[in-house]
């Protein structure tokens, strides 16, 4: 039923008058923007500005009250979260949401759920039981890909340990590895630098650029640490009380009076 909409220029994701109300509160208010392919797009704003709500709208965890989201020319707001994920939008969370009781390897393998060849559950069960090559081969390939990602993240020494036992920084990296396992087009990072020291934050910037280039990603990130956002992002959108008050390149946004008043002035 998805209606094809001609996308302008090189846009991969477009929000048109996106609004989300919670009772009387307007968490996201008539927000429009367009994210270009291969861009690192920053989303900043004071606490409660509606940044995470916007992420929840993009991943279809919440339906918008009004307005539209267009991803690669297709309206996605009416889709269910797993459908959007299958189409190539993947995310991490502000408060890390790993499967704590599962191993690091299993977390990443689950991220490959949509890519491992689809054989029927009953067929998987039967062929697995009889040790037939089909099921084993499928699991082997998935495991191989997952191990590659873990190695890239420097997490290959404890792949069988439960995710909840990892230190905070490693959990952040594991969550990114799991998000990358989906082979997304767009990666949404919700405060990836939270809890990191200045040195780690610097490394994170480098790392985000690296994965953008290596996996040919478009990245949208929410971040509170202003220097990091200014140094890393191609363009920045500033939200305040649910409204988009500025959008543009870091140098422009930095000097915008509305932004200084709403956000940067607070520091």
């Amino acid at each position: 039923m998805s209606q094809q909409v001609l996308s302008k220029d090189n846009s991969i994701l477009e929000a048109k008058g996106l609004t989300r109300r919670f009772g009387g509160l307007v968490a996201v208010n008539n927000v429009s923007f367009s994210v270009q392919k291969h861009e690192i797009f920053g989303l900043i704003g004071p606490n409660g500005a509606g940044k995470t709500t916007l992420f929840n709208l993009i991943t279809c965890l919440l339906p918008p009250s009004s307005g539209q989201l267009i991803y690669e020319g297709e309206k996605i707001s009416q889709l269910r979260p797993h459908q959007v994920a299958s189409k190539g939008i993947s995310r991490t969370f502000q408060n890390i949401r790993l499967f704590g009781e599962l191993s690091a390897l299993e977390n990443v393998m689950i991220g490959r759920h949509i890519h491992s060849r689809n054989i029927h559950p009953v067929a998987a069960l039967v062929s697995g039981m009889l040790a037939l090559p089909v099921a084993n081969q499928q699991e082997k390939e998935t495991k191989q890909k997952a191990l590659e990602l873990l190695e890239m993240m420097g997490l290959n020494d404890r792949t069988n340990e439960k995710a909840k036992n990892f230190p905070y920084g490693d959990q952040r990296r594991l969550e990114i590895a799991r998000a990358l396992a989906l082979e997304p087009q767009i990666l949404l990072l919700d405060e990836p630098a939270a809890g990191m020291n200045p040195n780690e934050k610097h490394q994170l910037s480098e790392f985000i650029r690296e994965i953008r280039d290596r996996f040919n990603l478009t990245i949208i990130l929410i971040e509170h640490h202003v220097p990091l956002v200014m140094g890393l992002c191609d363009r920045i959108a500033v939200l305040d009380f649910g409204q988009l008050i500025a959008l543009g390149e870091p140098a422009v946004v930095r000097n915008d009076p509305a932004v200084i008043e709403a956000y940067l002035g607070d520091d």
């Binding site: 994920a85 969370f93 949401r97 299993e106 991220g111 069960l125 697995g128 039981m129």
Partner: protein, 316 residues
């Protein structure tokens, strides 16, 4: 108690305990995914037993709508067991659609879903009674083909006879447990099921269709109930449409003892309660259930999270 009797009772206990285990696993799977107890589980157990009985071509009694009716086919026991349990599984899927999903979609309080499942249990039980009456049904004498009625595990002068049906039950249960363990731990679908159990929101953002896995979980859970019902029915008899309800309560004792939501816990709890019950002296056998629930109460006082359960942490 002499050694022969001890070994006999131990094996009997393991046999009935292994049924408790696969039955309780059905509860556990649904609990770990939806966080609720499915009270229709005991009714599915009953249904599974009747289905297998019917698929073996046995006639029903003279009460009920289906009086004296019998299916024109006579499947051998293993086939009837598998097919009957598959139908039980499909009924479970239908129950999820009718009694669980609409409430979940509306974000209803879990208590309402529990009440809904109780309603389904009563409907299923009453429907069975309406169709085939309330009498006992006994599986035919040749259910296990030409196998002898009992097998001697001792020597000629020291016989330790064990009923064949107990051995069949134990082997079938172990086989089912092995398949399920493999499925949950080593296949893509098992991993996805565990992911949905731990955090359905995050699982859906990784491309996992959570509703699909809830359906799969109901199928597996109800399949297990069907197998358990058939095994109990073939071991003793199908004691009327309500016979799954008491068994269902016993299953609750098992999962609380083992630890809510823990798969190894359900197995351990089932075997434990089975063995303890087997050692209840004959003259007190009417109090077996009291023993099971006595263990449950002590457990709740000493270790509320159960044997293998995780300590509950308040989610923030």
């Amino acid at each position: 108690m002499n050694l022969t009797l001890f070994i006999q009772q131990l094996l009997n206990g393991l046999s009935i305990g292994s049924i408790y285990a696969i039955f309780a696993l059905g509860y556990t799977l649904i609990f770990s995914i939806l966080g609720i107890i499915n009270f229709a589980h005991g009714a599915i157990f009953t249904l599974g037993a009747y289905l297998t009985y019917a698929l073996m071509g046995e006639a029903f009694g003279f009460n009920g709508l289906l009086a004296n009716a019998a299916l024109p086919i006579k499947l051998p026991f293993p086939l009837a067991l598998i097919l009957g349990s598959i139908i039980a599984g499909l009924v479970g899927v239908a129950i999820e659609r009718i009694a669980f999903r609409p409430l979940r979609r509306r974000g209803a309080d879990p208590l309402l879903t529990v009440v809904s499942s109780l309603g389904v249990a009563l409907i299923v039980v009453n429907l069975i009674q309406y169709l085939v009456g309330a009498e006992n049904y006994t599986f035919p004498g040749n259910t296990f083909g030409n196998l002898p009625a009992s097998i001697n595990f001792g020597s000629g002068e020291n016989p330790i006879p064990i009923r064949t049906v107990q051995i069949v039950i134990f082997l079938v249960s172990v086989l089912v447990l092995a398949i399920l363990t493999y499925f949950i731990n080593y296949t893509k679908y098992g991993k996805a099921m565990r992911a949905v159990a731990e955090d359905p929101t995050t699982a859906s953002l990784l491309g996992i269709n959570t509703d699909g896995f809830i359906v799969l979980t109901f199928f597996i859970s109800s399949f297990l109930a069907g197998v358990a019902g058939t095994l109990v029915g073939s071991s003793v008899s199908i004691a009327g449409p309500y016979f799954g309800i008491a068994f269902g309560l016993k299953g609750l004792a098992v999962i609380v003892l083992g630890g809510l939501g823990s798969i190894p816990g359900a197995v351990l709890g089932g075997l434990l309660i089975g063995v303890v019950e087997a050692f209840v002296p004959g003259q007190y056998s009417a109090y077996k259930d009291a023993v099971a629930f006595g263990i449950l109460f002590i457990m709740l006082l000493v270790r509320p999270q159960g044997l293998l359960g995780r300590r509950l942490i308040q989610k923030v």
